[in-house]
Symmetry: C3
Subunit: 203 residues, 3 copies
């Protein structure tokens, strides 16, 4: 079970890291830029959460495997970015799984550190979307999660909410986490395929 | 007294949050963008201070009322932004009260955590102006507090300095805080009405 | 010895701060912008490291001398920026010494706080280059360290690696630190004078 979770976690990090490295390629950055954006995108959301709840040093700094995955993502993207770019829709789909995993894991970690239910949900969203915000800000792009693209934060909020409510009701953690992540992933994938957007203020 | 302070604090957060949501509207972001920029603008300065002094999780994460206010600000701005935009000068005036409150409260909290007088003043300025810096950076605008608009950080520095000096001289905290906040608010309002600017390097 | 280290540290901060203030001048910011960018550039890398390892409040907040140096840099740049700009190549050369110092000191501080070797090297690079990243992001410039300018992060990585490996092998700290910093400085200076760049993905 623990090793399944580790593999899922590393897989999520890999996909997030690739999206960071791809943006670095588009900005014509060098290998350092690819490495930095890959790492920041993949681990940045968790770092923000860990800093806010006082879980320092963050787990992903203490375990070299978490640092190795963005390096692999950056090098792969460095050599094969035309292939990766052509499959960007595949990256988006895989990214949905990272989203589902991170919003649930992030919210539950916050709960574990004694944070209340509402901030725990917020920190679940931050874990899932925060790395992408850092990636976009550093590359001078208004964060895509803030609109007007397909739904991203709302599925993450749904997953985090289910996880936290299930925890409050003292349901067993594994089935709750699976349901929560499945809802987030499914909602995000439907948003991509059907073109669902969050509402935008009328002008 | 405690409930007066809470109301003032929440009022300051509300005004800051509205300025964040307004910028999100101007950037054509969706409701997620409005919520995120409202929250970041309202609470971001305090979070930076709390992270730097080790007061984690920040109070505004532990108390759901602090998280509710940016939601109200974002939803109000979402539906009524043409009205809010027409009254942007009013938002600026109300923002001056948030500035006065946060620079004093921020500096005193830093002092309470054992930080010396000079860094406490700096952290007071960060509490008042840091949220606006985060708002601007995320929305790809050079932070307005860095110039060349009307004085903002200097009134905050004055308020924080009076609060910290009063604390060092062991004056009673309430009158000192009132004087410090009044100086900051008045100076900021005069800067707005008279068009006072900080000096800019000659070219 | 301790006072030599302090002088070196403050000298490194001064040069980093000048590069921040110069960018603020170019962005036509006011004196507040110069002060903020000088402080962020000079101390921001260390703050990120300290926040991630839990060394809060950061040393540079606890000691007013660290806060005074960016003020001096900002005021000097405010009045004499045409002179400083004409000598920007000199600033680059002096900056190489700051780079060498900070990557080694940053990595060793991380080791001291119980971080493993790989993250300690990463945090050494962050200490040396993080302030510049913050400076660039706030001033809306894609961070220069991410390319495609002359090598910056790679010399920092070399210095941090030598320092950490030397520490792991239990070599005496002073000669290891001197060798590590010398390698980083020399490599960076050679990169500037010979125009060495990190590889960029093929388009």
């Amino acid at each position: 079970m623990a090793s399944l979770l580790l593999v899922l976690d590393l897989a999520g990090i890999l996909v997030f890291a690739i999206s960071g490295a791809l943006l670095a390629v588009r900005r014509k950055l060098d290998i350092i830029g690819l490495l930095a954006l890959a790492t920041l995108t993949a681990l940045g959301g968790g770092w923000i959460r860990d800093i806010l709840i006082g879980a320092v040093p963050p787990a992903s700094l203490a375990d070299w495997r978490y640092l190795l995955v963005p390096v692999i993502a950056a090098l792969t993207t460095f050599w094969f970015h035309p292939v990766v770019t052509r499959r960007e829709r595949t990256v988006d789909v895989l990214d949905a799984f990272g989203l589902g995993l991170f919003c649930v894991a992030g919210a539950l970690k916050a709960v574990e550190y004694g944070v209340g239910p509402v901030p725990a949900i917020l920190l679940g969203i931050v874990t899932a979307a925060g790395g992408g915000v850092l990636r976009d800000v550093v590359a001078l792009r208004v964060p895509t999660v803030f609109g007007p693209g397909e739904l991203y934060a709302i599925p993450a909020a749904a997953g985090a909410t289910i996880a936290v409510v299930g925890h409050e009701l003292e349901f067993p953690v594994t089935p709750v986490a699976v349901v929560a992540a499945t809802v987030a992933v499914t909602w995000r994938l439907l948003a991509i395929t059907r073109g669902w957007h969050a509402p935008v203020p009328r002008t």
